[in-house]
Symmetry: C2
Subunit: 255 residues, 2 copies
Amino acid sequence: MASPHPLDRAIERLASHSHLDEDDRDAIRALPHTMRNLDTASYLVREGERPEYCCALVSGFAYRHKVTGDGARQIMSIHMPGDFIDLQNSFLDISDHNVQSLTRVDAAFVSRPAVREISRERPNVGRAMWTSTLIDASIFREWVMNVGRRDSFSRIAHLLCEFAMRLQRAGLAEAHAYVLPMTQEQLADAVGLTPVHVNRVLKELDRQGLIVRKKRAITIPDWQKLLEAGDFSSRYLHLDQGEPHLEAGAAERRA
Amino acid sequence: MASPHPLDRAIERLASHSHLDEDDRDAIRALPHTMRNLDTASYLVREGERPEYCCALVSGFAYRHKVTGDGARQIMSIHMPGDFIDLQNSFLDISDHNVQSLTRVDAAFVSRPAVREISRERPNVGRAMWTSTLIDASIFREWVMNVGRRDSFSRIAHLLCEFAMRLQRAGLAEAHAYVLPMTQEQLADAVGLTPVHVNRVLKELDRQGLIVRKKRAITIPDWQKLLEAGDFSSRYLHLDQGEPHLEAGAAERRA
DNA sequence: CGATCAATTGAGTCTCTTCAATACGCGTGG
DNA sequence: CCACGCGTATTGAAGAGACTCAATTGATCG
């Protein structure tokens, strides 16, 4: 057991869906990187720029977003410690969106060429990174549906479920109690609603006993009920991914 | 110049953003595959199933979609000849969405193991495929924004622009005149509106002279005006991708 | 020439937005 | 320690965009 390395959490995340042997892990740890501590609302990536680095979140939260021609913002994903944020950009030349920190953040910046090289030299690593971007894409698809076809109530419930589930999987919180690291305005931009309406829906979720709020801390008294309210199924998170001996049935049952 | 091969169009698509040498192309052509001709509305992939094949569209159109708990459908992308449809699934075990044909379709089915093998054995091919899924993901992000933050008018205009642009890039139609291969109901499911409202918006786009309709054939008299109406910028399609000697400025200028 | 599916149109309704005011929480400076 | 300021959250009232329901037209096909 080596001493803790800033990329360990990210490595574990990759390993949770794709096989990595000890050499692969060491190769990732050996990736030249610079650690940076960033203030809230710092840009990690800017739309239209040519990113030179991929980065992995070590602590803190970040979000991906775009802005329409008339200034409306849409958040397309939220990221937490252990997430690689910019594998997207490792092979795309010009960034098509922004990534900004939601809180203070520690991030490890790895140069693009280094990422490209490791993904070529170490097939396991390349595959793990590809898989990771495929799971991200699956989450985008779910968000398209969330924003396109669910009403405000389930839309917000759904986001709360996803966040809970992912935090738990990452070992960062219990699924039934966590702190949502964003303002209601940001929440609104994530679900395609106005902050005012988000406020009312949160109040209603609370009133119906689906969540309990204390500032931004959320407690979920009855997970099952929130899942139903949010029309949430974790399939799109591909949590069972990479457990080859699991029959399809087992994955089904997990709901 | 070999005789035409069903995968040629897909190969050209990959090569348009990632370098492939003659050996790489031959390797793709040599991929064992079965051609299938499918009726309209056939499933190419089903949510919850364990896909055994990746497929490339040779002719016809298809779409990706999911269905909410109460039966509302959301289309998350539309695919055309030359698109690899299921690289997504090459490394994800359980499909998180459906893919269904929009028209009659010819598709080349390649086994998952074969795809995984070629992507490992031939780094150029692996990289091209990865890049292709990254571009798909970029399109999903744009759709999140389209559905989340644009009103019905620009939302539909945006979709019409995207489709025009992609058809043109694929050499399947002129950008200013093409046939939209879907019903208004499907269009509605793609933009998160009702068919009734889509009908009204199309009528309005027509009335304002942004499009001319003759059945499902669309003509665009003034491309610039439609771009503006749809708040459309092609950046997210990453068309300039893989032209390494282009400075950032050139990409900027393309709008 | 029905039968069927897609497109179109009208009328009334509802979710979510907009505008606007107020309350709350927290850090800063006096 | 309190006052002020600012960002965030909350609440009310009115309006608008999109939906629902329902009927009609049009196109295609056996």
